[in-house]
Amino acid sequence: MRKRDIFEFALGALASNWRRTGLIALATAIGVSSVLLLTALGEGANRYVLGQFESLGTNLLIVLPGRSETVGGPPPLLGETPRDLTVDDAYALIKDASIRQVAPVIIGSAPVSTADGLEREVNVFGTTNELLEIQRLGMEKGVFIPPSDPRRASSVCVLGFELARELFGTDIAVGKWVRVGNRRFRVVGSLADSGVTVGIDFNDIAIIPVASAAALFNRQSLFRILVEAASENDLVHAEQVIHQVIASRHEGEDDVTVIAQDTVVETLDRVLTTLTLGVGAISAISLAVAGVLIMNVMLVSVTQRRAEIGLMKALGARLIDIRQLFLVEAFMLAVLGAIVGLVVGTTGATVLAKVYPKFPIAIPLWSFVVAVMVAMICGVVFGVLPARRAAALNPIDALSKH
């Protein structure tokens, strides 16, 4: 039998039972499109989270005061220790070439109020000029905390996007005075809208010089030191340097925890990818069910076309020809479903991406390959049994039935 004949034969069989063909293609399409859509959602979540971290700077090491020897336990996130981690500790770190810059951070909460009596309790960040670059913050108006001696408590502050709106409405905040706790600060700048962020919400925040925060909250100890390594290759070395420098400054006691943002991001990436794979695999169960359906319909088709098969065998068709006929038909059923599923899945993902422009929905490449391949493999594998049945028919019996 010629290839073309086989194709035409299979196509004809599919077209003559169009209702049945449509239903099976629908079943396969449901499977394929759900795999595509769900993995697209998972991939979108993954990209979103990674993007959030990326926007918070790269080659970033976070130094927390305190170190816990509990195996596998969480790092001491609250960062209270008997021995303070100080601004001087932070600046002692930049002497090494592997460290580009550091930003000491003190965090606390205080009410911020205007001369008009508007007040809002927000998180207050005490830090230095370097934070702007390390965390890649964008300015809406004015300037960031100016570079100066970190030990000097100057009375300037920068307001987050939302805080500036809440306190000053549409007025320009820059140049105005605000009261943070019991101290007065001049607003020198306001941050650009940072959107929804993971971790710290830079929209609802007041940033003041680190020495001013130390005075305001009456504490010397830093909450964090953000360290930017000179390059990705320097991260490991920088981490060692941090431990050494801190230990030498703290009477030999290495009492800090260093977290590399990259490892956090990697872990998150792994978790989210696994999740996406899991969701994809669960929805792929439906493709297996679709495969069972293909087998079922092909079996029916074999039964219904006994006479036809008998005739072909009587005319000298070989076993392999009959088998190929039915395999091709099953395969084409699966392909048809896969194509419809691809169209529906990609359209769905595109629509979702349009509706939620901030959420980077994207069907991962592997998902296309896997969904279509699984569908096709299902078609062939589940087509084998019916095809063998057809081929095994005795021509005399098959013909005599009708």
């Binding site: 049945r20 079943a27 816990s68 336990g73 008997p82 021995r83 297996a288 069910v289 069972v292």
Partner: protein, 399 residues
Amino acid sequence: MRTLDIAQLTLGAIASHRLRSVLTVLGIAVGIAAVVLLTALGEGVRQFVMGEFTQFGTNIIAVTPGKTSTFGVSGATISSVRHLTTDDAVALLRVNSVQAVVPVVQGNARVKFGQKQRRTTIIGVGSDMPKVWQMDVAGGSFLPNDPFESSRSFAVLGSRMRTELFGSANPLGSRIQIGGDRFRVIGVMESKGQMLGFDLDDTVFVPTGKATELFNREGVMEIDVIYREHDSAENVAQALKNVLLARHGQEDFTIKTQEQMLSVLDSILELLTLGVGAIGGISLLVGAVGITTIMTIAVAERTSEIGLLRAIGAPRSQISVLFLVESAILGAWGGLIGIGGAIALVQIVQLLLPSFPVALAWVYVAGAFVMASVIGLVAGLMPALKAAKMNPVDALRAE
């Protein structure tokens, strides 16, 4: 037609195409099994997490400094210009229905005994901590009820900390050094195990006042309050709020009841279970399409039979009932097999991996069965109606 006849006709139709029926049923069974298994996993995780949280009791209210920020902890936990103090804790104790308060300060320090040392979590608490956090003392006694600002330098070790520092020796009465300060060990706690990754056994408990000195802090991080079990959490929270408002003049604190937290958590986890169930449900949908397909084929094959039935006086409704019953039986059968298989699998997992969180969500199991039957009915609707609409004359002529 009698009910018995309908049953015989449909069962006969299913039995005469054994392989076809088995495959159709298999499709539904896989879908139902996926739903039951996935929801069992979701339910298991829910029970595990809820168990972790309720081990501190449910009649607990946490007061933290600062107004809540959208994300997690407010900066006020670290430092604030308006502190939450041990005096606030004492004032809260006077609220009617409050049984105990524990002001909490947490930090990290080096603990030394002789040559041995270990860096770990130090938690400053009040004497009522065992009652509030539902932990038991294994040996010695817990911290005495000293006034917060003048408490004595006593320490109580978590069970892990005790073995790390003292091995099998008796720690009671020994002096340990925490940071720069010296403490006398007066008790050891029972093991509480891990709580969502946080090890309460690898800690040292000291009086709150001593912890604030140690970490050079002015305020506490949290005040935990327990109230009489049958009182309304909302009323108690309101009373606490009034006391603190009177003391601070403004709402610079956050009150969270365990009830609120648990209900939020519970609804999130239930949503998650629903979500994974829905993803499993996609397979069920595909299985349903399978029933529709097979019923369409069956209707086409049995055209002459339908014609005959109509010719001898069967009304249209009876024809559709025949096919509907057939598809519903296929669906329900698939449902039973799927549920049976899934339950067996869950039992095996529970036997082999007892710590793995699976628990059959019976609501979903029952729902899955009902759904399977309903799906069978709905999937059979289109073919059944088609069968009913047939003109008997045409149908008889078909073959």
